[in-house]
Every structure is written in structure tokens, then in C-alpha cells.
């Protein structure tokens, strides 16, 4: 009897706990006209179910809780939140660059201002995540991070992932004169840093081996000493101390393929140099900007290195710089046509420009890029390149519920974003103004 009473109390407590649980994590059902999952073909007239900040189900006959919040998006388009893979949102002017030329241990998160006013405007255009890297002034300039535009003022809560890639630059005129000699120097400085890292790694391994040997000998020595304290045993010699070097440690991660090296390159020679470096050292390369890529598209495709391309139109760029002299608006179309894995970034002149992600994709389409590839280039492809595709980039069960509802197709220039959800939380809802 006593046991049964106890069981009832326990069960009711459990029930109470469960109901509180569902209240805080209320189900959301989006009844969608057209779903663009990006990972698969479009789905008509289906429901997306959101549970505990994740996509729980997508389909036509899904059981929805009676108390679920239902969002009517019939006749509308539903797609994953877009990603600006070349953003400078949250970055205060001139704080993208450190004066040191080799500074890979810096983390972009330390230089961000989460209080900037533009973020909600960017989110309102369906951009739910931005990838921010250090600038191109240092040859090797620190690592970038992906942040969500979830309205938080806490960088830690916006952060999806940091240490995504170490940013480098070859032949960028903003610091070094972009003479061929300057570019050559860039190339060889980066190469030197990587070579030194190789030596560092070698020395570290050697030290680790010696240290292990010493540890073993020391343990034997201690054991003998303990058993026969009076006996004279030769004490093993401790190997020389090894000083870890933060710069080298980060570059070692690049060389061991833990983190990609993202190299900003514009002109053909610089792109070729970046490819050569990757060949020589075997690191994971991400080509950034890749302005003249269209001239050697096949070579880039053969290297299998992904590209984060931008700006699609030179109008986005800060000002016409030397690197953009041979900028061609068909670059994205040509590269992706040759099979290069390609993400499109805005690469705008300021943070608010990140709102132009869909516009950049549309410009690429007008100039020959496949429509599906262009949409993928602002959603799933950047997520894959940046190593966050397990969380964002497509509408698939298990991924974060970062969802955009639009009045029309995202590539339709006059479509309006109606609603934006990040992890199931509404961060933007369009009020009927007109």
C-alpha cells in the first residue's frame, strides 16, 4: 500500500514536470505553402514541426499538439535562415585588423560589439547567421566565428561556433602595396610561418617522446626508491622544458587539418599561390573573395578547395580597389558551373549590408548562376564550408529551427520577409504597414 501511494506521488510529480516542460518548450507548427528545404526538392503544402528549438518533423500528416502554436504560412515560402559568409556585422570600424602580420591566435569574438543597432534590420531580411573574420591587413590574422542574430546582447549566447578557420591574406593592397614583389613577400612570409610551425611541431613531438620516456624512467626510479630507500639508484634526467607558443599552436592545428586556413585572394597569381601552399603543406584551404577565380575556374575545381566568393557585384565593395580591377559579375556563375563548392558572401562596406544576401544571390542568377545553386550558396553551402551544417543551413529534422517565411520565392526581388524564427523563437514579424 505504502509503495503504491509513493508511486502515485512520483507519477504525478513526473506528470507535472512534463507539462511544465512542454509549456516552456511549446510546439510550433508552420503550415507552409512551399517549403524550400535546400537539402531536398521543394515540398508543397506541408507542415514543419518545431520542438525544443529544433525541427522535429516535416511532412503532410504530422500529429500536432492541441496547444501547439500554429503559424499559417499557406501560400507562402518557407526556407532556412540565410547566412552571410562575409559579414562585418558587430565589428567596430577598424577593429578588424591587428598590426602584427602573423597573429593567428587572435579570436574575432574579442573584438565584437553586440550592441550595434543594425542587427535586427539584417535579421528582418531573413539572415539568421553571420560569419565574421578578422580583416585582411595581417597576413595571418586570427580566427573567425559564426554568430546567430537571435537578438541577444551576449556574444556567448549568439555564438554558434568559433575558431572556424584561421584567416590569411595574400596580395591585398590595403596594407602592403600590391606590387608583385609585395605579393611575393606575402606568400613567402606565410610559407615561412608554416615551415616554422612544422619545425615547432617536430620539436614538440620529440619533446613529448622524451618526456614520456622520462616519465616511465622516473616512475621506475620512484618505485625502486620506495622499495629500497637506501640503495643508490641513478636518477633519470629530466628533458629540457618546452615552451608552448600560442602562435605556433594555432598554426599546428591548421597543419594537422583541425582548422582550415582561409586565405583572402583576389588576383590569379595570388589564388595560384594559395593553392600551391595548400598543396605543399596539406592543410584544408578555403579560398576567400577569389575575385579573378573565373580566369582559372578549372584549376580551382580540380583543387577541390571551397570558395567563399564576394562581393558578387563590385557595388558592394568599399571602394574600387586595385584587387577589383578585373572583377567580373559572372565570377560566381563560372566557378559554380565548373563544379567549385561555392558560398556567396555580401562583403559589404558596412555591417548592415549583410541584409543583401538574397540580393547577391539574385544578381549571381541574373549573370548565369543556377537558381538552386545560388540559394544553396547562401544557406547550406556556407554551413558546410564553415563546419556548422549539423546545426544550420537547411530544413531537416534535427537541425536548429532557424526559419524564414517569405511572401514569395526568396529570389523574387519584390518578395517580403514575413517572419523569422531562430531556434523556434520569433525574432522578426512583419507588421502590415502599407
Amino acid at each position: 500500500m505504502k509503495n503504491i501511494k509513493g508511486f502515485v506521488i512520483l507519477a504525478s510529480l513526473l506528470l507535472l514536470f512534463l507539462s511544465v516542460g512542454t509549456l516552456s518548450g511549446q510546439e510550433i507548427a508552420i503550415k507552409a505553402g512551399t517549403i524550400l528545404p535546400i537539402s531536398d526538392a521543394p515540398i508543397e503544402n506541408s507542415t514543419i514541426l518545431i520542438k525544443d528549438r529544433k525541427i522535429a518533423a516535416i511532412g503532410q500528416n504530422i500529429a500536432v499538439d492541441a496547444d501547439a502554436r500554429v503559424i499559417d504560412a499557406s501560400g507562402k515560402y518557407v526556407m532556412p535562415g540565410m547566412i552571410d559568409s562575409q559579414s562585418r556585422l558587430f565589428v567596430i570600424d577598424n577593429e578588424l585588423n591587428e598590426r602584427r602580420s602573423i597573429a593567428p591566435e587572435l579570436n574575432i569574438l574579442d573584438g565584437l560589439d553586440p550592441y550595434i543597432k543594425e542587427a535586427p534590420e539584417v535579421a528582418a531580411q531573413g539572415v539568421t547567421a553571420v560569419y565574421i573574420t578578422p580583416g585582411s591587413r595581417s597576413l595571418i590574422g586570427g580566427s573567425g566565428a559564426v554568430l546567430k542574430l537571435n537578438g541577444s546582447k551576449d556574444v556567448g549566447k549568439m555564438l554558434l561556433k568559433d575558431n572556424i578557420a584561421v584567416k590569411a591574406a595574400i596580395g591585398v593592397s590595403s596594407n602592403n602595396q600590391s606590387s608583385s614583389l609585395g605579393r611575393l613577400a606575402n606568400y613567402s612570409s606565410i610559407r615561412e610561418a608554416l615551415l616554422e610551425t612544422k619545425i615547432y611541431m617536430h620539436n614538440k613531438e620529440k619533446h613529448d617522446r622524451e618526456q614520456a620516456k622520462y616519465n616511465k624512467k622516473k616512475a621506475e626510479y620512484d618505485k625502486k626508491k620506495e622499495a629500497r630507500p637506501t640503495e643508490k639508484v641513478e636518477k633519470p634526467k629530466r628533458p629540457a622544458r618546452f615552451r608552448p607558443n600560442p602562435t605556433r599552436e594555432v598554426l599546428a592545428k591548421v597543419l594537422s587539418k583541425e582548422i582550415p586556413l582561409q586565405i583572402e585572394v583576389h588576383r590569379v597569381t595570388d589564388i595560384l599561390n594559395a593553392l600551391r601552399l595548400a598543396d605543399e603543406f596539406g592543410f584544408k584551404l578555403i579560398l576567400d573573395k577569389c575575385t579573378e577565380g573565373y580566369l582559372i575556374a578549372e584549376e580551382i575545381a580540380r583543387s577541390k578547395s571551397p570558395v567563399i566568393l564576394g562581393p558578387v557585384s563590385s557595388s558592394f565593395a568599399d571602394m574600387p580597389r586595385l584587387e577589383y580591377r578585373h572583377h567580373d559579375i559572372r565570377n560566381a556563375a563560372i566557378l559554380s558551373g565548373k563544379g567549385v563548392k561555392l558560398a556567396l558572401g555580401v562583403s559589404g562596406r558596412d555591417g548592415a549590408s549583410s541584409k543583401f544576401v538574397a540580393l547577391a544571390a539574385a544578381i549571381a542568377v541574373a549573370n548565369g548562376m543556377d537558381r538552386d545553386m545560388a540559394l544553396r550558396a547562401v544557406t547550406l553551402t556556407p554551413a558546410e564550408i564553415l563546419g556548422v551544417a549539423d546545426r544550420i543551413g537547411s530544413l531537416q529534422v534535427g537541425k536548429d529551427a532557424d526559419i524564414v517565411i517569405l511572401s514569395g520565392h526568396p529570389l523574387d526581388s519584390l518578395s517580403q520577409v514575413e517572419m523569422v524564427l531562430i531556434e523556434g523563437k520569433t525574432v522578426f514579424e512583419r507588421k502590415d504597414q502599407q
Binding site: 543594425e118 557595388s315 571602394m319 586595385l322 559579375i329 559572372r330 543583401f356 540580393l359 542568377v365
Partner: protein
């Protein structure tokens, strides 16, 4: 490209041509579905739904395509033989009224080919904004195959700038008041009309203060626009405001004076507040045309300006007009350009979709009925 050029050189204007199109955006007379345009001697002979195509005439079958008038870039600096950021300003002298921008134009530059691939068939080639009195802009059609036919207006009005960019440290004027004083002084001299021999500056400014030619005045912020309007009022000028980005904040004052605005590229802005300004001004009754200000933006984005403005509140009809007829009217060439109507030049852009969709590609461009650009698949 090679095709387009041989067509250009061999195409004679006396040849007649008919274009069948899915949609003809006439601009001044609505949209014609499944229509025909007949071109004769470089002019539009007729346009409509039920038009019979004469026997033996060459027919361009574009029945799945859209046709619009050639776009007009109301202010740009292309074809100047300069590197990247150009010296389109005469920065030694503050008054450069007799500077003819056409003298610096290279009709064979890559810029011109690029403009055609963007559907831009006519431009106002303008000096920059660093001279209080800045020289003479020109209106050009970009079919340069026949000598000088492409110069529509050699010296169209006079450019002025009351922007802070016109102030320098090492040249007078160095203040806004000094700038205004200088412009007034020059205009007064022209108005006095004393015949004291050769004086090119006075003779040119006379066109503005006496002959009522257009003054193109660069002014961006509210205060600069107010300065521009002060001069317009005092000298009763026929004027056009160039850029006038913050014009929406004093839209009633601009509309009251009937001042048209040549609006800068929307992609130079990124805040929602700024992206809405062009639409607000047009809705207040101000006539606007768009400018690419190339090399500041890509020529391709002239059309982007209209599309973005439409997304941010400008009605689509006005957005299209701002790329065509409005610009033609502001530049004084609407008798020949800006719409698909009988008697106008056959300057046409053929797209594979709605002109206000960024994803629509420009397939073919004609000037005076000659094909000057044809898109090649990769």
C-alpha cells in the same frame, strides 16, 4: 561580342525589323502582351498587339522575352581615361565652367561595352562634385559605330556642387559660405552681361542665368540641398538636384520648386531608413531618375537601384520610369528616348523576364534598331 560588333558595323538603319515579344513595357502606355514592334530607319514605326508584320522584313522572335526601352544612366563617369578612382574633377581651379567632360571620354573603352551588357543605352557623362562650378556634362548614346551620331547633347547645362566635397584645404573656397559666395559672384557676373571681351566662364554661365539651361547641382544632405535651393530661388534657375539623398526630409520644399532629383545608387546605402528615401521622395511628387555614379558602383546595379527602391516602397511603375522616361525628361531628350512609342529611337533592351526582377538577364540590346549586345551562354 564579335557577333554584336559585326552586326553593328554592317547593320544599316534603313533596314526594317520586327520584334515579337511576350511583354512590351512601353513605360508611357502600359504593358502590351504578345505584341510586336516594327522598326524602320532606326526609329520605332509602330508598336502594339495586333500589328501586321510586312512581308520580307527581318523578324526577331522574342516571343518568350520582355522588351523595355534602353535604360538611361542619369549621371556616371564611364569611359574616362583614368585609373579606378578617377580624376574627373579639376581640383586646381574652383571654377571650371568651360571644362567639357566629353573631351575626356574614350568611346572605345571597356566601360562602354559593359554599359551595353547592362542594358544602359544612354548616359549623362558628368564631371565630379569637387568643383563649385564644375563644367559641362554631355548626353551620349552608346552606339559609337557612327562618328558623332552618338553625341545627343554635347554640353548639357552646367554642373555645380555645394557639397562638402567641393571644399578643400589647399584651394578656395574652404567653407560653405565661401562656396556660396563664389557661385553667386560668378552668376552675378554672367547676369550683368557686360560685353568686356572674351570670358568663357561668363559666357557659359549665361546659358544658365539668361538662356535658362539646366543647372545640375550636387547636394546630398539637407543643409546642402537648402543651399542649392537658395541659389535656385535667387537666380530663378532651371535646376536638377544631383544625389539629394536626404531630400525626403524636405520633400515638400523640393516638390514645391519642381526640382527633379538624380538619385544615387541605392547600394551605397544599407540602413532601412536610407533605402526608403527614394520611394518617399517619389511619393511626395518629386520626379526622380537613377544614376550609377560609376565607377562608384557597377553599371549593372543601375537597375538594382530601381528594384531595391521598389522593394522599399516605391511603386513599380515609377521605379521603371525612373530608369527610362523620367531620366529622358530630366536630361531633355524625351522627344527621342525613354519609352517604346511611335517615332522614338529604337533603343531597346530584351530581357528573359520582368525588368524589375534582379534575376532577369539582359539578352539583347539594340540602339537605333541595331543589335549592339547579345548575351553569350557560358
Amino acid at each position: 561580342m564579335s557577333i554584336s560588333f559585326c552586326l553593328t558595323s554592317s547593320g544599316s538603319e534603313s533596314q526594317s525589323l520586327a520584334i515579337r515579344a511576350s511583354k512590351i513595357w512601353t513605360i508611357t502606355d502600359g504593358v502590351i502582351t504578345n505584341g510586336v514592334i516594327i522598326i524602320n530607319e532606326g526609329k520605332i514605326q509602330s508598336v502594339g498587339e495586333n500589328i501586321e508584320i510586312p512581308e520580307g522584313i527581318r523578324v526577331l522572335d522574342m516571343s518568350d522575352k520582355d522588351v523595355m526601352p534602353g535604360m538611361i544612366d542619369a549621371h556616371c563617369h564611364i569611359g574616362l581615361s583614368l585609373d579606378i578612382f578617377s580624376e574627373m574633377d579639376e581640383t586646381v581651379a574652383a571654377v571650371a565652367a568651360d571644362m567639357l567632360i566629353l573631351d575626356a571620354f574614350n568611346p572605345y573603352s571597356d566601360d562602354v561595352k559593359k554599359a551595353l551588357s547592362c542594358g544602359v543605352t544612354t548616359i549623362m557623362l558628368a564631371p565630379g562634385n569637387r568643383n563649385p562650378v564644375g563644367g559641362l556634362p554631355a548626353v551620349l548614346k552608346l552606339d559609337i559605330s557612327k562618328a558623332n551620331d552618338w553625341v545627343l547633347v554635347r554640353a548639357a547645362g552646367v554642373e555645380f556642387s555645394v557639397m562638402n566635397e567641393a571644399l578643400m584645404f589647399d584651394r578656395e573656397p574652404t567653407s560653405r559660405a565661401g562656396l556660396m559666395d563664389l557661385i553667386r559672384e560668378e552668376l552675378d557676373k554672367a547676369k550683368e552681361d557686360k560685353d568686356d571681351g572674351f570670358n568663357p566662364t561668363r559666357d557659359i554661365l549665361k546659358r544658365v542665368v539668361v538662356a535658362n539651361k539646366t543647372a545640375y547641382i550636387w547636394a546630398r544632405n539637407v543643409d546642402e540641398i537648402a543651399s542649392a535651393m537658395a541659389i535656385v530661388d535667387e537666380y530663378e534657375l532651371k535646376a536638377v538636384l544631383v544625389t539629394a539623398e536626404q531630400g525626403d526630409e524636405i520633400a515638400d520644399m523640393i516638390a514645391e520648386r519642381n526640382l527633379p532629383v538624380i538619385y544615387p545608387p541605392l547600394l551605397l546605402s544599407s540602413r532601412d531608413k536610407d533605402l526608403k528615401r527614394a520611394g518617399k521622395m517619389a511619393n511626395s511628387g518629386i520626379k526622380i531618375a537613377f544614376a550609377s555614379l560609376t565607377p562608384r558602383t557597377d553599371l549593372h546595379d543601375l537597375r538594382t537601384s530601381a528594384i531595391l527602391a521598389a522593394k522599399y516602397g516605391l511603386d513599380t511603375e515609377t521605379a521603371l520610369k525612373s530608369l527610362t522616361i523620367n531620366a529622358a525628361e530630366i536630361l531633355g531628350v524625351a522627344d527621342r528616348l525613354g519609352s517604346i512609342s511611335e517615332g522614338k529611337d529604337a533603343d531597346l533592351v530584351i530581357l528573359n523576364g520582368d525588368p524589375l526582377q534582379l534575376t532577369s538577364s539582359i539578352e539583347m540590346v539594340l540602339i537605333n534598331g541595331n543589335i549592339v549586345y547579345q548575351r553569350q551562354e557560358e
